[in-house]
């Protein structure tokens, strides 16, 4: 009993000593010989929500993209000293390409008082834009579908959308590839979400006036392991061109299935068909998965510069990808997301410069009014210039057509401006 009392007393003494010494220890840890400038003030950070599909069905895009945007913001914060002296504070979340997770995340963004937010996948923006529009929280989707920005509310698109991708490819096809007479027959292979429906919306709206006949529309799931059946059905319609609007994994499956059907000497199908891809899939991931030989000659649209091009932002981006994420070198999704990071910084900078009272008065409403809607920026040449046209919430409007040549995705067109398409969505 006496021993227990002694231990108890000893414990109390140690605890008391620790408590007494804490302020001294804390002062010691924080103390240094530098003098603190009493007039210096720390500028408040600018809070931004970014969600990306690092896991889940679109992780092959989400991982390079999350790396790209976070690297770009690291560059802005560390090398440029932030946005006019304000550090960008990122609340980054993996949505797993799940609509349910995305809706939870957007609520977290709103309750964290972010000034703006971004999603990288159109499907995720489709899931959260209702909540964001209701809260008047401005944001943009890196890859987007027409239904995200039309009718124009508080959500923007970083680049042209999947409808624009179809329209640009279709126009290029008519002008440069189609050599036949009459209307070319086109089949659509569409992912069963906004990635696919965006292309369909544009085809519904424009195909007839462009002189293209849509002969088949097939949809597929992101986990599809074979699309031979759909392609046999498409082959029965004898198409001249197949346009695939999907992500890299299903697109690689579809292209491989096309090549298999083409090789059937007993019953050849789809021989000589032109293959075009929307920009959600047309990256180095696709080449990795399908194999360069099978992709040879396949066309695709993409809204950014290519790796190694002589544009202002290439050197710094290349330095960062080599330094921090060398696995994503040559991945075009890294470029779009690096541009996403630069764009976030420019929107905030524009908003601070134009908002009456400056950074102290930044609110989501002011970021939209004085940031998004007053943009005039070339994004270091990494994609088409960014500006705002009232009623058109696509910030950049330019795309290019590429083709796989000798296993390499090669630009074959100059920038093509994607005209505004009024889809009549209400």
């Amino acid at each position: 009993m006496r021993r227990m009392n002694r231990i108890k007393k000893l414990s109390i003494m140690v605890l008391t000593l620790l408590l007494v010494s804490l302020p001294v220890l804390a002062a010691g840890c924080g103390g240094n010989d530098e003098e603190v400038d009493p007039t210096a003030t720390v500028k408040q950070p600018l809070k931004v929500g970014i969600m990306y599909p690092q896991t889940g069905g679109a992780s092959s895009k989400g991982q390079p993209m999350s790396a790209g945007v976070l690297d770009a913001i690291k560059y802005v914060n560390e090398e440029l000293g932030g946005v006019l002296g304000h550090q960008i504070e990122v609340i980054g979340r993996d949505n797993g390409y799940s609509a349910a997770t995305a809706t939870t995340i957007i609520s977290q963004f709103i309750s964290s008082n972010v000034l703006m937010f971004t999603t990288q996948a159109s499907a995720m923006m489709t899931a959260v834009m209702g909540i964001a529009n209701e809260a008047s929280l401005p944001g943009f989707a890196v890859f987007s579908a027409p239904a995200i920005t039309q009718p124009a509310k508080h959500i923007y698109a970083q680049m042209p959308d999947y409808g624009d991708g179809w329209a640009v490819f279709a126009q290029y096809y008519m002008d440069n590839i189609w050599k036949g007479t009459g209307k070319p027959k086109m089949a659509l292979m569409l992912l069963n979400n906004s990635t696919g429906s965006g292309a369909k919306d544009a085809a519904d709206k424009l195909a007839a006036s462009m002189g293209i006949e849509i002969v088949a529309i097939e949809t597929h799931a992101s986990d599809t392991s074979d699309e031979t059946t759909a392609l046999v059905n498409i082959a029965a319609k004898n198409p001249d061109v197949i346009f695939i609007s999907s992500t890299p994994k299903p697109t690689s499956t579809i292209v491989q299935n096309i090549r298999t059907l083409q090789s059937n000497t007993a019953n050849p199908r789809l021989v000589g068909v032109t293959i075009g891809c929307g920009h959600a899939s047309y990256t180095s991931e696709l080449v990795t998965l399908a194999g360069a030989a099978k992709l040879e000659g396949v066309y695709g649209v993409f809204p950014t510069a290519n790796w190694g091009e002589n544009v202002a932002g290439m050197a710094k981006m290349t330095e960062y990808v080599n330094k921090y994420h060398s696995d994503f070198a040559n991945n075009m999704d890294y470029i779009t997301a690096w541009a996403e990071g630069l764009l976030i910084a420019k929107i905030l900078e524009t908003a601070i410069q134009n908002t009456p009272g400056g950074a102290a008065n930044l609110t989501p409403e002011n970021v939209e009014k004085y940031g998004f809607q007053m943009l005039n920026y070339d994004v270091a040449g990494l994609h088409g210039p960014v500006d705002y046209t009232p009623g058109d919430n696509r910030l950049s409007k330019a795309m290019r057509v590429f083709q796989v040549k000798s296993g390499v995705i090669t630009a074959i067109s100059d920038w093509i401006n994607a005209a505004y398409i009024d889809y009549g969505f209400s």
Partner: protein
């Protein structure tokens, strides 16, 4: 006729790939009555390990595959020893929940060690298409189907005739009774998870040789749940038969009903069939009917 042949051939071979993954699920269920919700993630992780050994470490296929299988078996043993053994005798729901946790851990491991997210498995199966009665199918699918068939025969023989296999079946029936008879239940669990790991590794290598290593392997793994539900949770034969049924349903439905209904019907048909079959045979086509008196 050529179209029908194409639909049938594609359906059977794709369905056999589903069966291959489903065998791993059935193995665990048959020996421990645990629904392994981490199956898809196991397939993904072991595919990456195969990539690590055969591509990154540069081992040839004949050496890389055994190393991968051994690593998968070791991982299965660790899982059982660390995460599942402490729960022996606890409600089955606890064990199932743990497998869900394991799934997230595996996803985390993949992100940590292989941040590139997508890769192509080194070519070890020729992908030149084979022509059969006017239809055509990639050799990769045929190899996967053939290997699934061989594995099915091997595990069936093991469970039916091997002492350990019989003990595994008995353990699944009644853990406590088997324990009381002196059979080392813990050892049986360890072995079953090691085998399940090895099966997932083989399935992963074959699946990723077809479509590359992506997160889609998890979803394909999950798709195999519909196969085991249709075939019967505890039946290898069920897994082998239900896979082609689902593959055929997808392809024939997609081939002939799309024109009459809508594009995408292909993805719905297997589930309609499963619902109908389960109404008629709640334990699946070949599942053991369990009647409990209350």
């Amino acid at each position: 006729m050529a179209d029908l042949m194409q639909f049938v051939l594609t359906g059977i071979t794709v369905g056999m790939v589903y069966s291959l993954i489903a065998l791993g699920f059935t193995f665990i269920w048959k020996s421990s009555s645990v629904a392994n919700l981490a199956l898809g993630q196991m397939v993904l992780l072991f595919s990456w390990i195969a990539y690590g050994t055969m591509h990154q470490a540069g081992l040839p296929f004949w050496a890389g595959l055994p190393v991968t299988i051994a690593a998968a078996a070791a991982m299965g043993w660790i899982l059982e020893r660390v995460a599942l053994r402490p729960l022996i005798g606890q409600p089955i729901l606890s064990l199932i929940t743990v497998t869900l946790g394991i799934a997230f851990v595996f996803e985390g491991l993949v992100s940590m060690f292989w941040p590139i997210s997508t890769a192509a498995m080194p070519d070890f199966i020729p992908d030149e298409p084979v022509q059969i009665f006017g239809a055509v199918v990639s050799q990769e699918y045929l190899w996967a189907a053939g290997i699934a068939l061989v594995l099915f025969i091997l595990v069936s023989i093991f469970f039916r005739y091997h002492k350990m296999g019989v003990a595994m079946r008995a353990t699944a029936d009644d853990q406590m009774a088997v324990w009381a008879c002196g059979i080392p239940v813990t050892k049986i669990f360890s072995v079953s998870w090691m085998f399940a790991g090895a099966l997932a590794a083989i399935g992963g290598v074959l699946m990723s040789s077809i479509g590359g290593i992506t997160y889609g392997l998890v979803e394909t793994g999950l798709k195999s749940f519909s196969v085991v539900i249709l075939g019967g949770l505890d039946s290898f034969l069920g897994a082998m038969v239900a896979g082609p049924i689902i593959g055929l349903a997808e392809n024939l439905g997609g081939g002939y009903l799309t024109q009459l209904t809508w594009s995408g019907i292909k993805d719905v048909i297997p589930f309609i069939i499963i619902i109908i079959v389960l109404f008629i045979k709640p334990y699946g086509l070949f599942g053991q009917v369990r009647i409990e008196r209350i």
